[in-house]
């Protein structure tokens, strides 16, 4: 025994002491879509999230973090696989990143059932907002239906009476039209669900033309939104039948890609680049500095950023210690951060209660189309499922 044991004892003590000063970074798993037509959505969420980490000097809420990023390739199976890998191999307890609701439906249950926490920067399917809510599941973006309830209210405010609806045929698409119908006071004269892999909307355009509605409401996020808007214009419908959409169908990347054909479209949103609060000004300044004035952030980037801040508030509340997940959940619930949207708090189902605004695509002074904020549609709006959640 003697000297050797004594030396190793000293060594262990020294190591333990130094580790108390140098905190091991908290690992965060970011699973998102980085390829295909939905690729730029995941890229913006990632870049918004990492911008917040960078602005914190590699820390969120003063706690050092290490973010592992992987691409789910728009396949639910991949999302599930990556999550299980992170849970089992890397022992990650904090997850975020998923863009699409079908991937969320496959991946989130595995995460929360394993006792880890998932904070959603985008997808918020209705089936997790009500009676299947979970104490380890937070949403920073919106509840899927609520996003389109604002759209329905926008269409009603604008005075439209007959609407033709289109959405992608997956969970978020169904939530979209359910939400729209809850708040639209006019008549629905057509409802079409398009396939996830569909790139040609010629038959749908013909149906719209034949139905002759006052307004078209469509939900096609990402690259499909670009394709839809272009084909809408090619079919000659753009000048004759106005479009009202929610943010995902007309984000700033879609506006840029579609060009002048997008001018005049009404958009319901919870965030825009021109919001006047301090948190947003800091975000926009930092973003422009890093990515230049040419790359306009979409709301996905703002959601990634807000998610990072929300996680930071949670981590600060438990001083980076994730051994007691319930304590972390309690800290998260306080939403002790300044959102770039302005007013933000969590409802009892841990989904946001926030304001919704009416935007329109207009032509800027430089001749290029951009999203302009016109006014508020709803204040402190939660969602229709909170009452079913037992939390």
């Amino acid at each position: 025994m003697g000297i050797r044991a004594g030396l190793s004892g000293v060594a262990i003590a020294v190591l333990a002491a130094t580790s108390a000063y140098a905190q091991t970074p908290v690992k965060i798993g970011l699973i998102t879509t980085l390829s295909g037509p939905g690729g730029y959505l995941g890229a913006d969420i990632r870049d918004g999230f990492m911008l917040a980490v960078e602005m914190g000097g590699g820390k969120l809420g003063g706690i050092p973090v290490e973010v592992a990023i992987e691409d789910d390739g728009f396949k639910p199976g991949n999302g599930k696989q990556i999550a299980n890998k992170f849970l089992q191999n890397d022992k990650i307890k904090l997850f975020t990143g998923i863009v699409f609701s079908n991937i969320a439906n496959a991946t989130v249950p595995d995460i929360v059932d394993a006792g880890a926490v998932y904070v959603s920067p985008n997808a918020a399917p209705s089936n997790f907002s009500g009676k299947d809510c979970n104490k380890n599941y937070f949403v920073v973006s919106w509840q899927n239906d609520a996003l389109h309830e604002a759209g329905g209210q926008d269409a009603t405010n604008l005075g439209y009476k007959k609407a033709f609806l289109l959405a992608l045929n997956y969970q978020a698409g169904k939530d979209a039209l359910t939400g729209f119908k809850r708040y639209f006071k006019g008549e629905i004269i057509g409802e079409v669900y398009t396939r996830l892999d569909q790139t040609d909307f010629a038959t749908e355009m013909a149906q719209i033309r034949a139905a002759n509605p006052d307004v078209v409401y469509q939900f096609h996020p990402g690259g499909l939104g670009i394709t839809f808007a272009r084909q809408y214009q090619q079919a000659g419908l753009l000048g004759t039948i106005p479009m009202v959409v929610a943010e995902p169908s007309m984000d700033s990347t879609i506006v840029k890609a579609v060009g002048d054909a997008a001018v005049g479209v009404n958009v319901s949103a919870h965030w825009n680049t021109d919001f006047d609060n301090d948190a947003n000004k800091a975000f926009m300044t930092a973003w422009r500095q890093k990515y230049g004035a040419d790359r306009v952030p979409t709301f996905y980037a703002s959601q990634g950023y807000d998610t990072a801040l929300a996680m930071g508030a949670g981590l600060k509340g438990v001083n980076g210690n994730l051994d007691d997940i319930d304590a972390f959940d309690a800290a998260m619930r306080k939403a002790d951060f300044h959102s770039v949207r302005g007013a933000f708090k969590f409802g009892n189902n841990q989904h946001p209660i926030q304001d919704w605004y009416a935007l329109r695509v207009e032509k800027g002074a430089d001749g290029k189309p951009f999203l302009k904020t016109l006014g508020k549609i709803m204040s402190d709006h939660g969602d229709a499922y909170a009452k079913d959640c037992k939390l």
Partner: protein, 304 residues
Amino acid sequence: MTLAIEQILNGVQFGVMLFLLAAGLTLVFGIMRIINLAHGSFYMIGAYGAAFAAQQTGSLVLAVLAGLAAAAAAGAVIEYVVIRRLYSRDYVQQVLATFGLILFINEGATMLFGREPLYVPMPAALSGVVQIIPGILYPAYRLVIIATGLLVAVALSLFVNKTRMGMLVRAGSTHREMVRALGVNVRLLYTFVFGLGALLAGLGGVLAGPVLAVQVGMGEQILILTFVVVVIGGVGSIRGAFAGAMIVGITDTLLRVLLPVVLRSVMTVSQADALGAGLSSMGIYLVMAAVLLIRPQGLVRVQS
């Protein structure tokens, strides 16, 4: 009524696009006896070539030429490097080799152009609607696609029936050994046929670019239906490819439009649309099965 006419036009346009791909595939399959799974890749290469040239130069003519040249060049290179070694091999090895080609070309496209789709600006003159008959509006560009496809069909038909090269192509399809025995350079004939097939597929890609998004994997989506068209129409026959393409295009479009309407009376809209989309894809294969049961050689018999 106007809706029905517009949907039929949509079906014709889809059929024309399938014909451009199927014509090349049926010639390659019929004359060279090669199953080329990478045929859809020529479609993608044509689309990317045109999109890239359009972004760099902004010129419509240059974009079209670049797309066609890219597809034809790719066809020549692939024929020389890969296909030549497959002439004497059996079908399984051809499928394996050309499937590997698909993966290789897709990765190459990802490395060159990234994972996000490219959007080709539509030539301004064609971006509106045209009133074909009073009361019926149809996008001008899709009319151009239909017109181009029909022109290509006529040109191919004239070529195959009226020129010496076309005669060799027909002969090579039905009496290959005799053609070789008569001293015709069959190697050159094969290279020409393969290049022509690649060029036609590339033309399809160039035309599709402004309408759809140009992205990696776009060829595989349309390739499966192309094989169905070739099987229905009869291997080796261009007339068969045209007939098959029109049948598949119009049937698929009309099924996609009518089935959901019928199903909505018995289930929710979202379920009806999903089931309708699934059943209409199945419908095409049912048509193929029916044709194979009645006329196993396809609609237009070519083999003697």
